[in-house]
Amino acid sequence: MTVNMTKGQAISLEKKDGGSLSAVRMGLGWKAAPRRGLFGSRTREIDLDASAVLFADKQPVDVVFFRHLVSDDGSVRHTGDNLVGGAGQGGDDEAILVDLARVPVHVDQIVFTVNSFTGQTFQEVQNAFCRLVDETTGQELARYTLDGGGEYTAQIMAKVHRSGSGWTMTALGVPARGRTFQDLVPAILPNL
């Protein structure tokens, strides 16, 4: 069962049977730019990047992105940079895995962002989506469609934050501009 999330919607990551999630994956997928025939290497590739920023009390303490693929504590892992996108049929082209049990105790929020590294706005990207998957079962928890998003080059997707003993995910869907996550930090802060 998938929840198509709307902006600001929060879903608890507690399972129905009372147990809480131990591992989640934030997947990002988009359709590669159409190939040019002649001079195919000049295809205007679309490079979207998924990043995760770990916050402790509203201060960024670590970040996972294509140049730092594993958080120092090992709780958040990026599966690697995809520079061109995929088939746009629902598969993840980039993914960030979060081992919730290993997140350091002082980290209380993890914010997921998507940037267009090559500068195309989300209007120009087809079939872009972002989803959250329960990594232990492969079940999709939430999905967010990105395309048609307008003149933006970045989006602050969602945050996973501590609530009680477990974690809650809130869809943010805040549009922003920026090439990498660094440009987004000012835009993230009001949403913490």
């Binding site: 303490v61 594993v70 120092d72 709780s75 995929g86 088939a87 049929q89 290993r102 105790v105 002082h106």
Partner: protein, 648 residues
């Protein structure tokens, strides 16, 4: 290595008898179509499916399952068949998934009969498709190749079959659905009856020896009468109806039946608490490699868990400081109890966070300690401490190991847990045992430290000798002043050295000269591509050169030669093990800095100077020394020498 295919990619098949394994997380139907040179399937009898599971050279399962194994014998394929398309489809079961997009990406693997994977392919990006051509096998001249296809059909099996050029695609698709429904009905969990048991034994008797029966005459690959397949009369209901012998092999596990209407696959609830660790719980081609990877996994986990702990504590401390500053800067709280209360609260918050971090660290450490307890005893000699029983049951190996243990590593937080420090062989860098470790609080005096440093070097040299096959590793020693005689005793007394330790300036020059010449010759031969042109007298085994008391007895020429060996030696099998105090070589000034930097520094006493590659903690290194009073070193070296003499 198995090739991981992407859509459209092809791959040669080195063998003609293969198995294609396809798995998804819901039951599905698997089949295959056989097409001729022009790519057309000649009719319903060119399709292997649950209703007609066996065609010459290929066999598919009779029922829907979450995993399929298709046996393929390309030698048995009729000459006219030029392309075999392997397809999967979701059955129309009530409540079951209707599109592959609802499932995790199915995966196909092509394996030999012995289970070795030839190629793998994951069908990503499926959405509304309910039938997919997974891959195809096709003739290219005389050989067969495999291609990853991944062509899906949202309109399902009829559309897929139609696309293959089958005239009665819709009819055939219906026939397949029926056969699947029968298969599902057959697999209703029934109380065990005699008939059921006989089926079970039939299946188990023919399951494992498939490779044998596949080639035998009268095998499942026998040609069936044409027309039999598509409109085959419904087999009588009941499990006993399965052909008792010679019939198609039922690949499904007799106890693993599909329920009639499979609900959405429910993942098994993760077990509460951590799973008990097992030795070799990592990937790798051999136990050696699996243990190596597991140890490095433990190393990384410990580094990262400690990083999490340290960053949480740092955060708690800085927050406390900030809050105390706030209290201080607030004029109202300077006097009276309000300030005290605020300070108290801030400290409590800090203590609580530190406690939480400690609890998490303790949990991780307990898990790693439990893993270490099962891993340490399972380690082979090359990875084991000297007190490990593996060394008492030591036998001279026939192959060199992939890595060797240089010592133990730990962090202050992780005491008493020790992580084996494993480095790959052949050693990429020379080693330097520092006999001049800055000694502030330690009671070890300088002379003793030097002795200990050489002992460390000897234990390491003995380990390297012992883990290589007889005659493939040699140790030479330069001990200019002869000061290391007592520490070198295990090597000299057992005869593990080919030549006695070289002493005096002449010994230094002689040993370095011969090793330099060796490096030159091997390098020339390797560069010229003429390794067989080496002089016959040249010993081609790897060499470890222990240099004691460097730079005592070295002149400028010898120093240059040593630097040359440190730079060029590892590539051609000459490795350095320097036992030295850097202070002794201070006279050379910065000239030797590149030498020290090129060597991996180890210490005879615990010292925190090694950084991990992930977060850069300072790890405390401890050497692997033989327990006092133990004669394991002598015993092992005696065996090494005996094996070497037997060989020559």
């Amino acid at each position: 290595m198995a090739a991981e295919l992407v859509r459209g990619q092809n791959h040669p098949l080195a063998r003609n008898r293969i198995e294609i394994r396809i798995s998804a997380d819901a039951p599905f139907v698997a089949g295959a179509t056989l097409a001729d040179e022009s790519g057309r399937v000649r009719g319903a009898d060119g399709v292997a499916h649950p209703g007609a599971p066996t065609l010459p050279g290929i066999e598919v399962s009779r029922q829907a399952a979450a995993e399929h194994r298709l046996a393929v014998d390309l030698d048995a394929m009729p000459e006219t068949v030029h392309r075999v398309s392997v397809l999967i489809a979701l059955p129309a079961t009530p409540g079951g998934p209707t599109r592959f997009g609802a499932l995790a990406a199915p995966r196909a693997a092509v394996t030999g009969l012995d289970g070795t994977e030839v190629a793998g392919y994951t069908l990503t990006g499926l959405d509304a498709e309910s039938a997919v051509v997974v891959l195809e096998l096709y003739r290219r001249h005389t050989a067969w190749k495999i291609r990853a296809v991944g062509q899906g059909y949202a309109a399902g099996l009829p559309a897929l079959l139609d696309d293959q050029g089958l005239p009665q695609a819709a009819e055939l698709a219906r026939g397949i659905e029926e056969a699947v429904a029968r298969g599902l009905a057959r697999s209703v969990p029934a109380p065990t009856t005699d008939a059921d048991r006989s089926r079970r034994t039939a299946a188990s008797a023919h399951g494992p020896d498939l490779p044998g029966t596949a080639t035998a005459a009268g095998s499942p690959y026998d040609v069936q009468t044409p027309g039999d397949s598509a409109v085959r009369p419904a087999p009588p209901e009941g499990p006993a109806a399965a052909p008792p012998t010679g019939g198609p092999v039922d690949y499904t596990h007799p106890k693993r039946r599909q329920p009639p209407s499979p609900p959405a696959p429910e993942a098994p609830a993760p077990a509460d608490g951590p799973v008990p660790p097992v030795a070799g719980d990592a990937v790798g081609w051999s136990m050696d490699e699996r243990l190596y990877n597991q140890v490095w996994g433990m190393f990384e986990d410990l580094a990262r868990s400690t990083a999490a702990y340290r960053s949480a504590v740092d955060f708690a401390d800085s927050r406390l400081e900030k809050e105390l500053d706030q209290v201080l800067s607030d004029p109202r709280s300077r006097l009276g109890s309000a300030g005290d209360a605020a300070r108290e609260a801030a400290r409590a918050r800090q203590a609580q966070l530190v406690d939480q971090a400690q609890a998490v660290l303790d949990r991780d450490l307990a898990q790693l300690a439990a893993e270490s307890e099962v891993v340490e005893p399972a380690l082979p000699p090359a990875y084991a401490r000297w007190d490990n029983p593996a060394w008492h049951g030591y036998r001279v190996p026939t192959e060199p190991p992939m890595a060797v243990r240089l010592g133990d590593l730990h962090l202050p937080e992780s005491d008493p847990l020790r992580i084996p420090m494993l480095v790959r062989l052949p050693l990429e860098r020379g080693l330097w045992i520092d006999s001049g470790v800055p000694d502030e609080s330690r009671s070890v005096e300088a002379g003793e430290l030097r002795h200990l440093a050489l002992q460390t070097a000897v234990a390491l040299a003995a380990r390297l000798l012992a883990v290589h096959p007889a005659g493939e590793f040699g140790v030479r020693v330069i001990d200019p002043a002869g000061a290391g005689a007592s520490a070198l005793a295990p090597l000299t007394e057992t005869g593990a050295l080919d030549t006695p330790p070289a002493t005096g300036a002449a010994g230094v020059a002689g040993t370095l000269g011969s090793l330099t010449e060796r490096v030159d010759l091997v390098q020339m031969a390797v560069r010229g591509g003429a390794s067989d042109a080496l002089p016959s007298g040249l010993d081609t085994s790897r060499q470890l050169l222990i240099v004691h008391d460097f730079p005592h007895g070295f002149d400028d020429r010898a120093v240059t030669q040593l630097r040359y060996l440190a730079d060029e030696g590892p590539d051609v099998g000459v490795h350095l093990l320097l036992v030295a105090d850097r202070e002794d070589a201070a006279a050379y000034g910065p000239l030797l800095d590149p030498l020290w930097r090129s060597l991996m520094r180890l210490t005879p006493v615990p010292d925190d100077h090694l950084a991990d590659p992930w977060v850069g903690h300072a790890w405390t290194y401890e050497p692997c020394l033989v327990p006092p009073g133990s004669h394991v070193l002598q015993g092992v070296l005696t065996q090494v020498v005996a094996a070497r003499t037997k060989r020559t």
